[in-house]
Structure formats: structure tokens, C-alpha cells
């Protein structure tokens, strides 16, 4: 039917290598989310602090992260900062790039979520004798994380998808990198990338399902 002969067998024989790559992909995404959430909370606090320098820093971070391509951010993390003599391995560069992006987007989500939490909650906490930081940590933040949970899930999916940009900084152990390396050897482009696509799809579905289970356990109120 097509002028092209599919050679699935050959491509499928590489599945173990690709699954190893998938593990690396998930590792990067998880790490970048964990660090990204921590940074986003920090940026949110900076924005709430009322300190102009901290606020400016947070705003700049968020705006740059949201207004430039992820590819740009990752390329910058590897080749850009190297102009200052700072060298990161491909793995670290990709991690930094994605984390930077995650933190920016999440901080913005958190800000939106904060608006939905009544001021009276903080007041209630303060009037029980809590410090501002305690009131934020014990009362506001948990509620904020719940409201921002769906956007966080989406961000996690994006983090997974963004790992595919690692090849631009020389990473070849993640799922996309492994696939591209295999492609350079055999040129079964369609078959190999179709398999990679299916794996990516399954990963995102697992994440979304997992998020739902976690949400059901975590947010019973």
C-alpha cells in the first residue's frame, strides 16, 4: 500500500534500550518538579514579601520563564552560562532548564491559587498566635497546593515532554536521546519515533492516573 516498508521487528528489538531511556526521562521530570515546586513556593513568598528586590527577582524569573521557549532556556543553561566558565553536564543543563521553566509557571499558578484563599484564613491563623510564616506554611500553603494540583499535574506532563529537548545539549540517555541515537544507526525513523511516542503517551497517562489517585488520598476534604 505504501511505498515504504515498515520494519517493526528491528525497531521493537530496541525496546529495552528505549525503556531505560524512559526511566531517565521520568527521573529528570520528577527531580525538576520537586525542585521546581520548592522554588515556586520560594518565589511566591518573595512576591508576597513586599520587598522590592525580592519581588523584582521573582517577577523577572516568572516572566522570562513564561515568555521564552523552553528550548531557549535549556540551550541557555548549557551554552549560554558556559560563557562565564560555568559548565553543566547535559543532564544537569536539561534539569536546570526544565526546573527553571517549572518554577516560573508554578509560581504563577500558586499566585492564582492564593487569590482563591480568603484572607480570613491567614487572620484566623494569626489570631491563634501563629507567625506570618507559620500561618503560610500550615494554613495557606496546603490549601494553595490543592487548588494548584491540577495545574501541577499538567506541568509534570510538560516536564516529561520537555525532556525531549535534552538532545540539543548533548544528552543521549533519555528516551528521546536514545531514540535519536538508534535512528542515526538504522534510520528507521518512523518506527522508532512511533514507539517512542507510544511510550511518552503511556507515561503521561500513568502520571495523570497517579495524580488522580494521589489527589483522592491527599485531598479528602
Amino acid at each position: 500500500m505504501f511505498g515504504y516498508t515498515f520494519q517493526w521487528k528491528q525497531a521493537l528489538s530496541k525496546l529495552p534500550q528505549m525503556l531505560d531511556g524512559a526511566l531517565v526521562t521520568m527521573e529528570i521530570a520528577l527531580l525538576s518538579m520537586a525542585i521546581g515546586i520548592a522554588l515556586a513556593v520560594l518565589l511566591t513568598l518573595f512576591r508576597l514579601s513586599g520587598n522590592r528586590v525580592l519581588n523584582g527577582f521573582a517577577v523577572t524569573w516568572v516572566e522570562v520563564a513564561r515568555n521564552t521557549p523552553a528550548l531557549f532556556q535549556i540551550y541557555m543553561a548549557h551554552f549560554g552560562v558556559a560563557s562565564f566558565g560555568i559548565h553543566f553536564s547535559p543532564f544537569t543543563s536539561l534539569l536546570i532548564g526544565i526546573t527553571f521553566n517549572n518554577a516560573g509557571y508554578l509560581a504563577e499558578n500558586f499566585r492564582g491559587a492564593l487569590k482563591a484563599i480568603p484572607e480570613t484564613q491567614t487572620r484566623a491563623g494569626r489570631s491563634l498566635g501563629m507567625t506570618p510564616l507559620e500561618a503560610f506554611g500550615y494554613i495557606v500553603m496546603p490549601q494553595m497546593l490543592r487548588i494548584a494540583f491540577l495545574p501541577m499535574t499538567n506541568q509534570m506532563v510538560w516536564a516529561i515532554l520537555m525532556t525531549s529537548l535534552g538532545v540539543t545539549v548533548g544528552l543521549n540517555i533519555d528516551l528521546y536521546g536514545v531514540t535519536q541515537d538508534l535512528n542515526a544507526l538504522t534510520f528507521r525513523t518512523f518506527e522508532l519515533f512511533a514507539i517512542a511516542g507510544v511510550i511518552f503517551y503511556l507515561i503521561t497517562k500513568i502520571i495523570q492516573l497517579g495524580a488522580r489517585l494521589v489527589a483522592a488520598r491527599l485531598f479528602r476534604y
Partner: protein, 248 residues
Amino acid sequence: ADKLDDIIASGTLRCAVTLDFPPMGMRDASNNPIGFDVDYCNDLAAALGVTAEIVDTPFPERIPALMSGRVDVGVASTSDTLERAKTVGFSIPYYAFENAVVANDKVEMADWEGMKGKTVGATAGTYEAIWLEGQVKAWGEGEFRPYQTQADVFLALSQGQLDATVSTVEVAEANVKSGNFPGIKIVDKAPMVPDYVALFTMRNEYGLINYLDLFVNQQVRTGRYAELYKKWVGDGEPANLSVPGVDR
């Protein structure tokens, strides 16, 4: 009509050329494509009586670009490996590279074996990348990084992100000479079988492959090969394109 007829009928020949691979393919100050491969494509178009269109194609994309019909032939310093020949059809070699080991100034390295245990890299999907990755695996130490373009490799080398790379002697010399990449030096020849590169097109386009073979033969015969070598690579002998003791 076959591909050859199609090209003549359409009046354009679309060549995949990699433009970050000086002196074979690069851009001049007004960002127009120049280089050995660019001239080679122009010659081919002239022989066919059509105009050439240069399609800038990164190394990993060369064969996909052909397979998806975006280009007619590849004039992109493509090594004629047996693995690739399962997918595309190669002409006889039109050039042959020796490979050199290039290192960052600050790295102590006497010969090619000095790469053992170092962070090395090359352009993803190239002949030398495949060889180098194999070496790193065999050594069992050090790290191999494939970058998307030759330029990224030298950029990383110049920045010190890579300790060493393997690239064709021509590229290595051109890059050292250009001064674009401060702090790099050529250390040694890489102990590889010479890297014969060939034109390629669809595997089943025998008419066109035939034509390409003859065209390469004519380029050598007429002295154009030596001329282009002199123009882009410099003084010296262009590599011998026939392998002694065997015909193809």
C-alpha cells in the same frame, strides 16, 4: 518517469547540505551557503541543466529529509555505511576524510588514547560519533556526548565543556584556522578507516544513482575535484577515492 526525469522536468535540483560543517558546508558573511558541498551540488545541477536549491539539513536530519521527499539528493559528506545503505542508495565516494583528534588547550593529551576517561563528544549521527561512542564504551570510562550540530561540538570544546572531539581533518583545520573557536588544538590523527563519503538518493532510483556515479567519476577526471579541494581545503593532495584491490 523516474527521479532523474523528474528532476530534469522540474528544473530544480534540491540538495541536502549540512551548513555547519566547514569547509564542506557553511555560510558567508551575508549568511548565504558556501563550501565544497555547495559547489559540488551546483556542479551537479549544471550538469543536469537545472538550477540548484541548497536545503540546509543538520546531520541527523539528512536521511529523513531525503526519505520524506524534501530533497532529491544528499551532498552532505555522508559516510557510506552498510547500515545506511539498507535505507538509501549511495553513489561511489566523492570525498574521503581522515579524522583528527581535537582537544581543548587546557587538557593534557599526547595522542588519541589520551581521550580515555575524558569527556568527549561529536556530532550526533556521524561516522566519527558512532566510532567515538564505541571507543568510550570499550574503554569503560569517560563520557560521550552527541550534540546536534558540528558547531555545538566545537562551541562546547572551546568553552571547555568537552575535553576532546574527533572530527574530519578538514573541519578541524578550518576551525582552528578561523579563530572562531579559541583554545582548541589538533592532537593526533584518529586511528579510523578513512571515512569515504558519497552522494545519496532513494535506494531504488538506479537511473539517478548511475548518473551520480558517472558524475563523481567525471569530477575527478576533469580536475574539478582537485580544483574544489584547492579552493576549500587548501594546498596538498586530495584523497584517493579508489580503494586498492577491489572494484565497486
